[in-house]
């Protein structure tokens, strides 16, 4: 057992602390090549990661960078810097600490490259950028340890893949580099260990005591939640009451827009003027920092926030977490609850606030899952190849490379350990040529092989462009929002470009909790002025819409089999009873379909329980099948549980719609022209370097980028359907936005057990679907039919039908010769 040096013992004693068992174990194993710690929040996780570093650096002999810390959030890096400074100053250790994120100034960056601090805090994107510099070997010389915080969050996205590739690079520069991963509770620790290991070296797993079970309940209100929507405005008085009863409350929302609206309503009802702040990723950095600082000082009674506060930031005395809206995913809920009561060995306290009637059921199901200790999650796939392409370019920026060495380096990263040489070569070829269909363009021929066999950038000036486009985060395109002043007013935050396009001068919207008036657009900046209006035109910057996990959906379906629901509030139980009376509830292993006329259209509701993305895809595929069968569908809308389709003709026999082979065939052709695919393509093409979002001249507006990416997609699809980026797009879409796997799972689960109910009017369970946002129109025969009707009507009413010869009524017209 490694003993704690005297200075540290004294410091612990002065604080009245004793070293946690897992902190000691981490210290004992400081020399293993890779170590993963799984501990609940508040377990002194960060200190356990840094303790070996601090001890190693205490004698002041180390030169250059010693420990690299990577966190998924800028805010987290800033927070860790604060937290590390305390012990370093109090023990007077000769240690320098520096952070680099997208927010670091140019001067600081230069200094950091010239004279790196002992402990260097950064994000995966900044690390990738640093690795792309020619002087990377000098900057990282002497590096001994890398600490990856919140690795469970990084492992879920491409950011993690990029990070592990960058680490593989670092390991090539510093062969003895040790890796430490810090993770919250996850369902499959071995998967994360595989992800972070440097293959073939192993990665040990250390499990800390999970601590006591959380105290978690659903907020029960007098007033019933509304039928649809995610605002939960009905619960404002009850939430305010909770804030008053607790010291500090975190109020989590699933999307930014919901957080803004809720915050606004909360302030309107906040008669005691309790100090309440807002924090989300669209806010300006200055504003976020201010809220973070106020929170650390303990000045705030509550923070309304989104996933930007989701990770292990040490917020001190949070004693209540409120989740607005169903959590969609049990694992994320548990990790969020971990925010409350940041003391080890004290139970966390949390409240769930369903935003609508269906979410009441989902919240109760989620509570059951937490009590049963069941976490959800899907197994991680292979590392995506678009990230690989980007990393090949990053490597080339740093200098010439040997393809065999690079292949070996890449396969040392867990996600790419199964990467075949053929796949690697295809990526390299794409970077070098752009692919067959694009061979005419020099712009996409970025690498050349030198006579000595090494690969290098064809044009060294391309390095600048490549560096400007590093990263895997694909946010919706946003525009900065500023107060209108003579020159450069106060920055407020960002809104989506699509939302900005809908604004006309004089429109009001919410940002950072205040209502502002749109004045105009100047050089990609939205200019606004303060406005005293009470009701804003709502901000729609959407944030992420999560899909309900398979496991949670199954629990909800199981609940529907119950005779009665004593655990549900009366308003929700009555609703389910009514549904059972007029139609029926969806049953596990069966598929309920309801058809009825409403609103002058024929409506069909499919209760597929395949998650939002899956149900969206099902909507697209079913409307395609209906088009083939001549049912004239007009559009659909999807939720996590059901898809509502409306059209001109009624569905009388749903069975032919659900033939899996036909659906799969439909998928193939449909994938071609589909907007979801184009969106996925745009993301993958940007990551792989086919499209550049940023250029030294000017930032492309999102619309321009969309235009050229859609054209690229169509071109590649027509002339080079096996293009690497199209292959990547297909893979991505099938497991991400398209989520076809969940539809397959649904069709297999149901087989031919379809319950089709033909009814005369809307059913209770279907009613909320009519209020859902995000309706998708279907372009097809129905549109032609509507157009023909409208054209006939217009010609008739205008009297023009009598003047000009009527359109030829034969639809097929051919020349006679």
């Amino acid at each position: 057992m490694s003993a704690l040096p005297k200075t540290f013992q004294d410091w612990f004693a002065a604080k009245g602390w004793s070293i946690h068992p897992h902190q000691q174990k981490m210290l004992d194993r400081a020399d293993v090549p890779a170590l993963l710690l799984i501990a609940p929040t508040g377990g002194g996780k960060t200190l356990s990661g840094f303790l070996p570093t601090l001890i190693d650096l205490a004698d002041g002999t180390h030169e250059g960078m010693h420990t690299l810390y990577i966190s998924p959030l800028k805010a987290l890096a800033a927070d860790i810097q604060r937290n590390l400074t305390t012990p370093v100053e109090e023990m007077r250790l000769p240690i320098t600490i520096g952070a680099r994120t997208g927010d670091t100034t140019q001067t600081q960056r230069k200094r950091q490259r010239a004279d790196p601090p002992h402990i260097f805090l950064t994000t995966p994107e900044s690390l990738a950028l640093l690795v792309s510099y020619e002087d990377a070997p000098r900057m990282f010389r002497g590096l001994k340890r890398v600490v990856i915080d919140e690795i469970h969050a990084l492992a879920e996205s491409k950011r993690g893949d990029q990070m592990m590739l960058a680490l593989a690079r670092l390991n090539a520069i510093c062969p003895n580099l040790k890796r430490v991963g810090l993770s919250a509770t996850v369902e499959d620790p071995a998967a994360i260990a595989h992800f972070m290991a440097r293959h073939p070296d192993p990665c040990e797993i250390l499990m800390a005591d999970p601590g006591p079970a959380p105290d978690i309940q659903m907020l029960r209100t007098e007033e019933a939640p509304p039928w649809s929507g995610g605002g939960a405005a009905y619960a404002i008085p009850a939430v305010l009451e909770q804030i008053k009863q607790h010291k500090t409350t975190l109020i989590f929302h699933n999307t930014r827009a919901q957080a803004e609206i809720f915050f606004h309503n909360l302030w309107l009802a906040n008669e005691d003027s309790l100090p309440i702040g807002i924090h989300h990723g669209s806010l300006d950095r200055e504003q976020r920092t201010r809220v973070e600082a106020a929170m650390v000082r303990g000045d705030l009674r509550a923070i309304v926030c989104t996933g930007s506060l989701d990770l292990g930031i040490d917020w001190g005395d949070v004693d209540l977490v409120i989740q607005i809206g169903a959590p969609k995913n049990v694992k994320r809920l548990v990790q969020r609850i971990g925010r409350a009561n940041h003391r080890y060995n004290a139970p966390s306290k949390a409240l769930l606030v369903p935003a609508n009637r269906f979410e009441v059921v989902e919240c109760v199901a989620a509570l059951d899952a937490v009590l049963a200790g069941e976490l959800d999650g899907d197994p991680r796939g292979h590392g995506p190849r678009d990230v690989l392409c980007q990393h090949i370019l990053i490597t080339a920026c740093a200098g010439p490379f040997d393809a065999d060495d690079l292949y070996a380096e890449f396969t040392s990263a867990g996600a790419y350990s199964a990467l075949s040489r053929a796949d690697f070569d295809a990526c390299l070829d794409f970077c070098a040529t752009g692919g067959y269909a694009l061979r005419a363009y020099d712009k996409w021929k970025r690498l050349i092989q030198r006579p000595d066999g090494l690969w290098q950038l064809r044009d060294p000036r391309a390095a600048r462009n490549i560096r400007m486009n590093i990263g895997t985060i694909q946010d919706t395109d946003t525009l900065k929002v500023r107060m209108r002043r003579n020159r450069g007013g106060k920055p407020l935050g960002e809104i989506e470009e699509g939302f900005a396009a809908t604004l006309t001068p004089g429109d009001t919207f919410l940002i950072g909790g205040q209502i502002v008036k749109y004045e105009g657009l100047r050089e990609m900046t939205v200019e606004v002025s303060r406005d005293a209006a009470k009701k804003p035109k709502i901000a729609t910057f959407a944030g992420t819409k999560f899909a309900t996990s398979t496991q949670l959906s199954a629990r909800v379906q199981q609940m529907f089999t119950q005779e009665s629901w004593p655990e549900l509030p009366a308003h929700t139980a009555d609703w389910l009873h009514l549904q059972r009376e007029v139609s029926q509830l969806p049953q596990p292993g069966r598929l309920l379909i309801e058809s009825f006329p409403h609103d002058g259209r024929e409506q069909t509701v499919v209760y597929g329980f395949a998650g939002r993305n899956g149900m969206q895809t099902l909507g697209l595929l079913l409307t395609k099948r209906m088009e083939e069968l001549g049912l004239h569908p007009l559009g659909f809308v999807a939720t996590d549980y059901a898809t509502l389709i409306w059209g001109l003709d009624a569905v009388t026999d749903p069975a032919p719609l659900f033939d899996l082979t036909a659906l799969q065939e439909g998928l193939e052709t449909w994938l071609a022209g589909n907007a979801v695919m184009k969106r996925t393509f745009r993301a993958s093409a940007t990551i792989a370097g086919l499209i550049e979002r940023n250029s030294p001249q000017a930032r492309k507006s999102g619309r321009q980028a969309t235009f050229s990416s859609d054209i690229l997609y169509d071109t590649l699809h027509r002339y080079d359907p096996d293009h690497l980026v199209l292959q990547i797009t297909r893979e991505e879409a099938l497991r991400g936005l398209v989520d076809f796997s969940r539809i397959e799972e649904m069709v297999e689960r149901v087989e031919n057990r379809i319950d089709h109910r033909q009814l005369t009017r809307v059913t209770p369970l279907a009613a909320p679907l009519f209020l859902e946002m995000g309706r998708v129109p279907v372009k097809g025969e129905a549109e032609e039919r509507l157009l023909a009707e409208e054209a006939a009507r217009l010609m008739e009413t205008s009297g023009l039908a009598q003047i000009t010869p009527a359109p030829s009524d034969k639809p097929k017209w051919r020349m006679g010769y």
Binding site: A440, E783, L800, T804, P807
Partner: protein, 220 residues
């Protein structure tokens, strides 16, 4: 293929759903604003690179129209090339394709504002083409009669019970016809634009292109 039939200067015309105009009595096919070589020009001018396949796409559609109509005369109504440089830079393959399409027919290039001069390609080059009572020119002139022109790339937006569609369209009244752009990647000008006010009579009609050629009163 389908068409909307109408008369201009006592001549029977067919507005094809593809965006081409067919004059059956003269076996004449007219297309406007092909903008061949557009992506090449955008790139040459420092814009974002678009894949260079739009020329082939335009020519594929033109070849299909020629095959089904067996036209004896073809009029390209100006802006056939995105600029004179684009005409020069057209890949050999595509130049040959155009030559094949021209074989055995009279081919007339009417000048446009993008291609205001003779180009190095077969066919007749004219500022305007008169085939009484019809006159073909690139930009419409106020007061003209029997005039067929292009230039504006007209589009029509229509609201159909809660959804809006926008399609390239022919605009015609008893005096003139304005053709939609035939080229791939060409934008459009809404028929509601004041530009059309002095040109089109109040009783003007629009023919939407797309799956079906569909006539509506011109929205303004």
């Amino acid at each position: 293929m389908n068409a909307h039939d109408f008369n201009l200067a006592s001549t029977a015309l067919k507005a094809l759903n593809s965006g081409a105009l067919w004059v059956p009595d003269r076996a004449l096919l007219c297309v406007s604003d092909l903008h061949l070589g557009k992506s090449e020009r955008i790139l040459r001018r420092g814009g974002s690179p678009l894949p260079p396949y739009e020329t082939r796409d335009t020519l594929t559609r033109l070849a299909a129209d020629l095959a089904s109509t067996q036209a004896r005369t073809v009029i390209c109504l100006g802006d056939s090339f995105d600029d004179l440089g684009a005409a020069q830079a057209l890949p050999e393959e595509e130049k040959q394709w155009i030559t094949r399409l021209q074989a055995g027919r009279q081919w007339i290039w009417v000048e446009g504002n993008h291609d205001p001069g003779p180009i190095d390609m077969g066919g007749t080059h004219l500022a305007e083409y008169v085939d009484t009572p019809l006159i073909f020119r690139h930009i419409a002139e106020v007061g003209a009669i029997g005039e067929i022109s292009g230039h504006y790339h007209p589009k029509v937006r229509l609201a159909l019970r809660g959804r809006v569609i926008s399609r390239p369209a022919f605009l015609f009244d008893q005096n003139r016809l304005i053709m939609p752009a035939y080229g791939t990647y060409t934008g459009g000008l809404d028929s509601r634009s004041p530009v059309f006010h002095p040109l089109m009579r109040p009783d003007a009609c629009a023919v939407l292109t797309g799956r079906t050629a569909m006539a509506v009163p011109m929205p303004r």
